[in-house]
Symmetry: C2
Subunit: 220 residues, 2 copies
DNA sequence: CGCGACCTTGATGATGATCAAACAACGTGG
DNA sequence: CCACGTTGTTTGATCATCATCAAGGTCGCG
């Protein structure tokens, strides 16, 4: 089961007055510069957030999985587009409803702390890592046990046997990692040549040598 | 009055059971990988957050000003060093105390929303902008009215007359913007040559032509 | 089969990193 | 007061990484 396929058990998370909404792949949930009305939480699937500069450059600033919140911008105006990477379920709350209960606030603050830590890691990736390190770091996200600072050095037993679906095109990966699609493609080819990963098809990858990948990714 | 010199009026912000602490310039408030015990809020001054990779590369992931919270990592372990850029006052809460009141949670969630939006902008800067655009964007932070997406096109009346203190060295600016100190220096020199800024000394700048700077920074 | 979308690979070039040296500001001690 | 060392900044010359430009390859589908 991939990260994106996980879903929340509804009992342990507040959802009073929240409205379930389903989206197809590549649907836009909200637009940059739109007013903020609702707050969303991903329940199943995956959503990308991106900003577009006036001259058309696009930066994918985050990729969201179940449990992640989005759609609140700076509190008044959306700072990003939110677009689904696959079929998704999300819960939408009216802003005022959402913040009215204490449990909701707690769930939200916990999610925000996790998210901010992840953003810090991503800033370090963009500011300091080479192309190969970025791509390796990106692929290691599919092994959550080993990609964060929680890693205890023990990879899951079945790693190397599992193939992960990458729901992003080369262009999207590139726009996420601050590279071009050609550079991403070259880096993936290099990791394949060196035997660290396999890719039966472009959108599927299997990580064959976790510890080498981890070193290449400059994760620990 | 600069951003860093602003301070909060204590009445409008919850601080029950919070403990005031004062720091000198360049003191380390908390260490990467330390356990999380307290949550801090900057009251006066400025604090930088940075991560250090195993081979010594440093990325400054954020610069905090009054009203910003820090020190909570992913909830258990610090993900960053926090170091003061100048003399600072902060309030420290025990984690459990902090989240016990509703008002505190509301203040915290509001701050986190602002911060996450700012991080998105910074990710776009790191992922897509050129060296000159990054440096110009950085300097435009000293004119908050014009640097964000709240900008209404009307610069403050006294701009160009005000010199701003940059409490960061060229190396720190570089580590923040994902560049080298030489590249930062060259970009600043270019902006000076073209008359957009003045710099009576390296750590002080005055923005002379806000609208041109804004264009160079690719802000709007 | 042929078209379109996406990916891969190659050749060339530009931006920014690296290496290096000179310069400015500042504090200390003779 | 000035020589000197220290630290940080500026500027120049060269180099490497990644972007750009270009062509060919793979896959799915009408």
């Amino acid at each position: 089961m991939t990260i994106a396929e996980r879903s929340f058990t509804t009992t342990e998370r507040p959802q009073a007055r929240g409205k379930w909404r389903s989206f197809m792949s590549r649907e836009i949930v909200c637009h940059q510069d739109d007013p903020v009305t609702d707050i969303y939480r991903v329940e199943t699937g995956a959503v990308m957030l991106y900003q577009i500069l006036r001259d058309g450059r696009r930066q994918i600033v985050d990729v969201l999985y179940p449990g992640d919140y989005f759609g609140f911008g700076d509190g008044t105006i959306q700072d990003c587009f939110a677009e689904t990477l696959m079929a998704c379920d999300v819960i939408a709350w009216r802003r005022d409803d959402a913040f009215s209960t204490v449990e909701w606030c707690h769930a939200f603050t916990a999610a925000m702390q996790r998210k901010l830590g992840a953003m810090h890691d991503h800033v370090t990736l963009l500011g300091k890592k080479t192309a190969l390190e970025r791509v390796a770091s990106f692929l290691m996200r599919f092994v959550p046990e080993c990609s964060g600072r929680l890693c205890n050095g023990a990879p899951p037993a079945d790693y190397g046997r599992v193939t992960h679906d990458v729901y992003m095109s080369r262009r999207e990966i590139a726009d996420y990692l601050g590279l071009t699609l050609e550079t991403v493609s070259r880096a993936i080819s290099q990791l394949k040549r060196e035997g660290m990963i396999e890719a039966p098809r472009p959108t599927q990858i299997a990580i064959k040598e976790i510890c080498r990948m981890c070193k290449v990714a400059a994760l620990h």
